[in-house]
């Protein structure tokens, strides 16, 4: 047994270092770095490039990759991105790091080349020396992991808690402005924090490479497992994060020892251990009826007062529920209407192969609408919409092909099953806070991907499942119009929702939890309902995609790919139904155009651009395209309203309140915004 405990400490040690890096970064910056795995992959790939592909020695390669490239990447990312995220809502912070999660592997592929690397060296010289400890064989790579864990805990906890640097870091989390006034450069401290963070990521990557190889998806799964330890530590406790990380490694090793090796379920239980930890922690928290505390505001009153607040919103424009005025409505809906008309003309304009792609684009557009609903309207970041799409696709195939159901009825049932799953995940996670929703949905997606989508009956010896189109769909063109019709129906539902009492209530919920509850609106009911409806939409979209593709190949619904989908939509516009159709067309057509007319290496440019686009959510929360569209519309309205007197809020508070507006100099719009929680 000791042998398995010691062996488990290796994987546990890697979990521990990753979770320590995540906790330290979150504690010091208020940002949970979803791109930690991507950073780990990038540095590990760079180390492999230097050490294996260019024959550098271990030490110089490690120093350059982990000790120099990692911190430089951290400082660079802080300078161009993270420094602008500090006062943004948890949602925008997650979206920006999700953008990095998409962009960094694409960048790595462009720089270092593609192709999965199954065997990668660690920090020990090869052949790796094996020692005996209490009769248990331990490799030098294992010993290096143990040393790194101890160093991480001692240095991480020690520096944060007992040194002046740690004091400055903690002070800066409370108030960068006050820290600045005290003579400490907040940018220097924050840049240092991110340098250390990416150093940890690089260390994790190089240590993990001998175990999992060099594959960005595997790194994402590894870090998702580390998220279990981070969740158990409530994001902040370094000892608990490290302890749970080590225990998960030991549990994995013991499960490998004691579970029957010939059972298919054994492997799946082992893979599921981090997710079981998450489920236990969430259930325990729910039973205690508490939030996990992810909504702490970063910075003090001074910081909020001096920070421009307009960018701290995601999809923060007014609900439009009670908007009136024909010009306003026309200018708002004319663009999307014309876009739908143009999209409708597309299957008639293009021919052959491209018609099928258009149908696929419309199916993707339906899936993207699920984010328009859950994130654009609901203000929640769900990272498992692709999983719901997969559930819809598999259900469609099973019911239609295996059981002979009418295919559209099978699509509907697939949507309903996805909705029920969304309901359960929502009930488990929403009460805990926005950040936990993102974490839980990401891990749920990976769990289903690894445990359900890999079942032999679905994989079907690598052939996947087949789906036949409805009998009336005699061509791709008919399918395209069928999908477009379904898209329009769902889009109209979302538009109606936005302008309805339900939309008002949802808007209330996302802006102020206590405000909504004391107005009589149930936050949990509203959020769970919207999330479940979004899962329904994703499930339907998945079913449509299955019909278009005829075959559901294994890997079609990988969680990481879903993150790319999200990045596409965020780039274009998370709140606009029209953006969903542009996103669908972009996601399908840009790679196809690149493949058809450009050199092969350009195939990684679209994911890189989408990743960078998602990062731009920090500046344009509604999406770059949506932002341009809104500016155009505002200019139009301004031209039309030129005859009317300008609206000056400070003088509009009525005769009795005129002095109030002027007198409360500190009570300007900034104060009003600052006191409300961003969604």
């Amino acid at each position: 047994m000791l042998e398995f405990v010691i062996a488990g400490l290796v994987l546990g040690g890697i979990y521990a270092i990753a979770s320590a890096g995540l906790v330290i970064t979150y504690t010091a910056s208020g940002i949970l770095n979803f791109a930690f795995g991507a950073m780990a992959f990038f540095i590990a790939r760079f180390y492999y490039y230097l050490h294996t592909e260019h024959s550098w020695g271990i030490l110089p390669a490690a120093i350059v990759a982990i000790g120099l490239a990692g911190p430089i990447m951290g400082i660079f990312l802080y300078a161009v991105l993270f420094r602008y995220l500090r006062f943004n809502s948890p949602l925008i912070k997650v979206v920006a790091t999700v953008g990095l999660l998409v962009a960094i592997p694409a960048l790595a592929t462009i720089i270092f080349g593609s192709g999965a690397i199954l065997q990668a060296p660690g920090l020990a010289p090869e052949p790796v020396h094996v020692y005996q400890f209490l009769g248990v064989p331990i490799t030098l790579d294992d010993i290096i992991v143990y040393i790194c864990v101890v160093a991480t805990v001692v240095l991480g906890a020690g520096v944060l808690r007992f040194t002046e640097v740690g004091l400055k870091v903690r002070a800066m989390v409370d108030s960068p402005a006050m820290t600045d006034l005290s003579g400490t450069n907040p940018d220097l401290v924050s840049g240092g924090v991110w340098a250390v963070s990416v150093f940890f990521a690089g260390l994790t990557g190089v240590l993990a490479a001998p175990i999992i190889g060099l594959d960005p998806n595997k790194f994402t799964v590894l870090i998702a497992a580390a998220f279990a330890a981070v969740i158990a530590a409530k994001m902040r406790s370094l000892p608990i994060a490290v302890g749970v990380g080590l225990l998960m490694g030991i549990a994995t090793s013991l499960a490998e020892r004691y579970l029957p090796s010939n059972s298919q379920w054994s492997g799946e239980i082992i893979d599921a251990i981090p997710f079981i930890v998450i489920a236990v922690v969430l259930l325990y928290s729910l039973l205690r009826r508490g939030r996990m505390g992810d909504v702490e505001r970063v910075g003090g009153a001074l910081d909020r007062a001096i920070t421009p607040q307009g960018e701290s919103r995601l999809a923060g424009s007014t609900s439009g529920a009670l908007e009136s005025g024909s010009l306003g409505l026309i200018s708002k809906y004319a663009g999307p209407f014309l876009l739908i008309v143009a999209a409708g003309a597309l299957p008639l304009i293009v021919q052959g192969y491209w018609v099928g792609l258009t149908a696929a684009a419309f199916a993707y557009a339906v899936i993207f609408l699920s984010w328009t609903l859950v994130t654009g309207e609901g203000g929640m970041l769900w990272l498992c919409q692709i999983t719901f799409a997969g559930v819809g696709a598999i259900t469609t195939a099973e019911l239609a092909t295996t059981h002979g159901w009418p295919v559209l009825a099978a699509v509907a049932v697939g949507g309903v099953i996805a909705m029920l799953m969304g309901l359960v995940v929502g009930l488990l996670s929403i009460r805990l806070g926005d950040l936990y929703v993102a974490l839980v949905t990401l891990t749920f997606g990976l769990l289903v991907e690894n445990l359900v989508f890999t079942l032999p009956s679905f994989v079907n010896s690598g052939l996947g499942l087949t789906v036949n189109p409805p009998s009336f769909a005699t061509s791709s063109r008919v399918l395209a119009y069928l999908f477009l019709g379904i898209f329009v129906v769902i889009a109209l539902f979302i538009l109606n929702f936005r302008r309805s009492t339900s939309g008002l209530a949802m808007n209330a919920v996302r802006w102020s939890d206590p405000g909504a509850r004391t107005t009589g609106v149930s936050v949990v009911q509203m959020k769970v309902t919207v999330a479940a409806l979004a899962a329904l939409v994703a499930g339907i979209g998945g079913g449509l995609l299955a019909i278009q593709q005829s075959t559901i190949a294994p890997g079609t619904f990988d969680t990481f790919l879903g993150v790319v989908w999200l990045a596409v939509l965020v780039t274009i516009g998370i709140r606009s139904t029209a953006a969903a159709i542009i996103a669908g067309l972009s996601f399908v057509m840009l790679p196809a155009l690149a493949q058809a007319y450009l050199p092969t290496w350009t195939g990684n440019i679209p994911p890189l651009l989408f990743g960078l686009g998602a990062i731009s959510a920090a500046k344009y929360p509604d999406g770059a395209l949506a932002e341009q569209s809104r500016r155009f519309r505002n200019q139009l309205l301004r031209l039309a309203d030129r005859q009317k007197p300008p609206l000056v809020i400070d003088t509009l508070s009525g005769p009795a309140l005129a002095d109030d507006a002027v007198g409360t100099a500190t009570g300007t719009a900034q104060s009003a915004v600052a006191v409300g929680k961003a969604p």
Partner: protein, 287 residues
């Protein structure tokens, strides 16, 4: 037992609390606090910083569950009811830092609260009902317009609240609270951050609200501006270190040695004359 306290848990008091105790770890934020609010009255809840006033409002509004104690709304035990259930039952509140919905306009705040009260099913049925695109009913418009007028908010009705100054934000919160047709409104430091003129305007609104003849509305106000609270309230509760140290009419509270001690310290309370401000003297008492 006073007249106000006679109606514990019955319809005599619109809102009652008995034995409210809240512990945060080893800290007793509230210890065995009793409180009653009579119909059509203004009650003040005062005390130095850290006395437990905001915690008490959180317990009464359902945002925080007490470690011990019970809360009644118009005779009905609501201790185990959620905040939204209490809101629908008739408890509304405002916050020290306004908790507004920054994506909505002023009018939309009032419309939402109005519909939660008069048409709660629309929160769900509107999702699938295109009729929600039609203009609002005349009754709803009348109620909302009336409130906007009462609070001098008509001219900013279509403005997003994110663009409004603090004083107007406080009025919007009061309007949202009133739109839900509450029996009692809990006001958490409504005058905080306002200048004297704005405070006077807001206080006059409170008086008008309670004086309305067509509805019974009571107010429970937490406020550091003791002079304003004493001038406005029918009854005052004083908390100190989580305990209720006094509950009486404003005139008695002004002379209460325990209150003077809590605000000014033991030495001054022994040596000096009553120092708790009286109406018209203004000024905020900082303990």
């Amino acid at each position: 037992m006073t007249v106000l306290e006679a109606g514990v848990g019955t319809e005599t008091s619109v809102l009652s609390a008995r034995g409210i105790t809240v512990r945060f770890g080893g800290l007793n934020a509230l210890s065995d606090v009793d409180l009653d609010v009579a119909p059509r009255s203004i009650a003040g809840l005062v005390g130095p910083n850290g006395a437990g006033k905001t915690t008490m409002l959180a317990v009464l509004s359902g945002l925080l569950r007490p470690t011990q104690g019970r809360v009644w709304l118009r005779g009905e035990d609501v201790t185990d009811a959620s905040a939204q259930a209490r809101a629908r039952g008739g408890i509304a509140r405002t916050f020290q830092q306004p908790e507004l919905f920054l994506g909505l306009t002023v009018r939309e705040h009032l419309v939402l609260a109005d519909r939660v009260h008069f048409a709660p099913r629309r929160l769900w049925s509107d999702m699938l009902d295109p009729r929600s695109l039609l203009p609002a009913s005349s009754a709803e418009n009348e109620r909302v317009d009336g409130l906007l007028e009462l609070l001098n908010l008509t001219r900013v009705a279509k403005a997003p609240v994110a663009a409004l100054p603090l004083g107007v934000c406080r009025l919007v919160e009061v309007g949202r609270a009133l739109a839900g047709q509450p029996h009692v409104i809990l006001l958490d430091e409504p005058l905080s951050g306002l200048d004297m003129k704005s405070s006077e305007n807001l206080l006059s609104v409170f008086q008008r609200v309670v004086a309305q003849t067509d509805r019974d509305v009571s107010l429970l106000m937490v406020e550091h501006d003791v002079a304003a609270v004493l001038a406005l309230s029918n009854w005052i509760f004083v908390l100190d270190f989580g305990e209720r140290i006094a509950a009486d009419c404003p005139d008695v509270i002004r002379r209460d040695p325990a209150v003077r001690s809590a605000y000014l310290g033991d030495e001054e309370s022994v040596e000096g004359e009553p120092e708790v401000p009286v109406a018209g003297e203004g000024g905020e008492v900082e303990p």
